[in-house]
């Protein structure tokens, strides 16, 4: 009597097409990531070198710790406020663009995403003029926050539009049929399902704003120097020294820490699903 399992190998071979493709896939990801991080490690190496006449690597970082804290707090504050404004602005706008019908949608979308494409120097100059001539916002932190928000809200808007676009309308219609109000539908159905879009937008906006220095150069009130502006200025003045490299490394590490913290807060159970981002 032949066994019904005849023809099926007793053990799966070590190298299958599936395993190979998996391995290659992961290798692809890791190769790219390593390339991305390589410049950082080059900087780290340099920052740890000691210049002659100095006591070495630790002092390089010692200089950094001194007053960097203030700049950092400002950066975090500004970034946080900008994110709030961006979300508040983008969520309703994305919904209107995707779900509502009105003429001139494409023009409107182009108009709304334009701020992202404007060179920083142009935004800077235009806002210096406007803040001085009309809005008188030169000494307030809000001038900086709104400038950051303007420059990055398209980055928030676009992924949310993408997420909404592919969300079948049927969910909302079903909720409506079951008696949910518009707001309930939005809060309990739409919002969770566009989570990936929102989180993508939050991440991108945060990083850009946290590390932005060009527009900041123009519109920051005196006394409010954000960390990247400080780093940019210092690198330009002091040139290439281990101390400035230490500053650059610290800035990147802090950005990384902020990003990871960000994931901690927003990446919990809810977004760790099978194919949610």
């Amino acid at each position: 009597m032949t066994t019904p399992t005849a023809g099926i190998p007793a053990r799966r071979p070590l190298i299958t097409a599936r395993r190979l493709s998996d391995a290659l896939s992961h290798a692809y990801i890791w190769t790219i990531l390593v390339i991305f991080v390589l410049p950082f490690f080059a900087l780290v190496g340099f920052s740890l070198t000691a210049r002659p006449g100095e006591s070495g690597a630790v002092t390089n970082y010692g200089y950094v710790v001194d007053t960097f804290g203030d700049n950092l707090l400002w950066s975090l504050k500004i970034s946080g406020l900008t994110l709030l404004i961006n979300v508040a602005v983008s969520l309703p706008a994305a919904y209107a663009i995707v779900r509502h019908t009105f003429p001139g949608k494409r023009v409107l979308f182009s108009v709304l995403t334009l701020p992202l494409y404007v060179p920083g120097a142009v935004i800077g100059i235009s806002l210096v003029l406007t803040y001085n001539f009309t809005y008188h916002l030169t000494t307030s932190m809000w001038g900086l926050v709104l400038a950051m928000s303007l420059g990055t809200f398209p980055l928030m808007l676009t992924p949310i539009v993408v997420a909404l676009k592919d969300l079948p309308v049927i969910f909302e219609e079903a909720a409506a049929c079951l008696g949910a109000t518009r707001w309930q539908t939005y809060r309990r159905i739409v919002l969770p399902l566009i989570g990936p879009g929102v989180s993508a937008g939050l991440l991108l906006c945060f990083i850009i704003v946290f590390n932005e220095y060009l527009v900041t150069l123009f519109v920051h009130p005196p006394g409010l120097t954000t960390a990247p502006l400080r780093v940019f200025n210092q690198i330009r003045t002091a040139g290439l020294a281990p101390t400035t490299a230490a500053l650059a490394v610290t800035m990147q590490l802090i950005s990384l820490a902020a990003v990871l913290l960000f994931f901690r807060l927003f990446g919990a159970r809810h977004l760790k699903g099978t194919y949610l981002l």
Partner: protein, 425 residues
């Protein structure tokens, strides 16, 4: 279904906490807790209310410029306390924190007042002028109290009517220590005496460089950088080259021939047209280039960075573009501005030997003798090598030629543009 039916509240709570943190922070943000941030909202300052002439019989008064009052020491202290902050526009030093700390300590020791110094650094000083001009046209107070940038920007500021007069002032007695050639009374006074564009080259690899025109040597193919067109860095290089070639920098047509010569002869040797110091330094230190054109201070930085072969080529005629201190019109804190200027000019600050900084940072902050009283302050560890990187007082007096800034600005607009067009900018 693939997704959880109920949204986990964790991220909602996270958002709420985040948001609360920032809103609370923002509410407290307009009056910042950190000592290095200026709390001023830019309102025009009021000085000591009562004129002090009546009380002059008991206390000696000082004539304070800009506010144009004779004030006793007590009144000055009160005024400083009221101002509470001062904003300086300068390039950023790596020892910024130390500088700020030292000044704040000085004010505390001398006037007994806690104030906040803000150092607003920028590597594009013309951005300061944009902000000043915009504020002035918009009827707002100036965003800076003290400008400490290159002389040509002072000239631009003058042309745009942005500069206030403050010299002589009893709050700036150190003015007497500074050579006349380094002052533009009543509007500005130099805090640098030795800043000129030059060429830094590797003496071991290119010992044949003795003048600027040697950059055209075919042995230097691909081993040189020249400044990018547009600002005084490129301007200074071409001024030096023009004087070597016997051309007049005030004549745009002659300068165009100088530019042509440079592009034709040095052009093939140029690895990159850049005014970015870190780029030049990285290229130089790795050996990819053997010479670059930039400010002379870089030679010192390289030297202290361990590159003992880095040598400064001094042009035959030195056209310095030194940093000058001036006060913009409608500065919010004019009294502290003068106090700062006086402090910056003092020998102990020009030669910060007692500060907790390393030699590299010392060489960033120390910019030469402003007058005879400064000569004795050269620290012991540098006495031997000092003359290699800093000119002597005699050299400053005799070799440094002043630039006619108005003529330069007019002429440079033409030939800088020409230079730019030649390299596609």
């Amino acid at each position: 279904m693939h997704r959880s039916k109920r949204a986990a509240p964790v991220w909602k709570i996270g958002t709420l906490i985040f948001a609360a943190m920032f809103v609370l922070g923002a509410c407290g943000g307009s009056s910042t807790p950190a000592p290095t941030s200026a709390p001023s909202t830019g309102a025009a300052p009021s000085t000591a209310p009562a004129p002090s002439t009546a009380a002059a019989s008991t206390a000696a008064t000082k004539h304070v410029a800009i506010v144009n009052k004779d004030m006793t020491d007590d009144e000055i202290k009160a005024a400083i306390a009221k101002e509470g902050a001062v904003v300086v526009g300068n390039w950023t030093y790596s020892a910024n924190a130390v500088l700020i700390d030292q000044f704040q300590k000085y004010v505390k020791a001398t006037y007994g007042v806690d104030i906040a110094l803000t150092y607003d650094g920028s590597q594009a000083p013309s951005e300061y002028l944009t902000k000043l001009a915009a504020a002035s046209k918009g009827g707002n107070p100036a965003p800076y109290d003290v400008m400490a940038v290159e002389e040509n920007y002072w000239a631009d500021g003058m042309a745009q009517g942005l500069v206030d007069s403050f010299l002589p002032s009893d709050l700036v007695p150190n003015q007497k220590l500074v050579l006349d050639q380094l002052q533009h009374t009543p509007t500005s006074i130099a805090f640098q005496s030795t800043s000129f564009p030059g060429v830094v080259y590797n003496k071991a690899k290119a010992p044949f460089i003795t003048k600027l025109q040697d950059l055209a040597d075919p042995r230097l193919k691909g081993k040189v950088t020249l400044p990018a067109p547009g600002d005084i860095t490129a301007g200074g290089f071409f001024l030096g080259l023009a004087s070597e070639m016997g051309k007049d920098y005030k004549d745009p047509d002659q300068m165009k021939t100088v530019v042509d010569w440079a592009i034709t002869n040095i052009g093939p040797n140029v690895a990159k047209y850049t005014s970015d110091q870190p780029t030049m330094q990285q290229l130089f230190e790795s050996g990819a280039i053997d010479a670059f054109s930039f400010w002379n201070a870089t030679a010192r930085l390289e030297y202290f960075g361990g590159n003992k072969d880095a040598t400064l080529l001094v042009p035959s005629t030195i056209y310095p573009a030194n940093g000058y201190l001036w006060i913009p019109k409608n500065a919010p804190h004019p009294i502290l501005a003068q106090v700062f200027i006086n402090w910056r000019l003092s020998p102990e600050v020009q030669f910060p030997n007692d500060w907790p900084i390393n030699h590299g940072q010392w060489s960033e902050l120390s910019e030469g003798f402003l007058g005879p009283d400064y000569v004795s302050h050269v620290p012991d560890w540098f006495t031997a090598d000092y003359p290699k990187y800093y000119p002597t007082l005699d050299q400053i007096k005799t070799q440094f030629k002043p630039i006619d800034w108005d003529a330069y600005n007019t002429s440079a607009k033409v030939w800088q543009d020409y230079y730019g067009s030649k390299i596609g900018q």
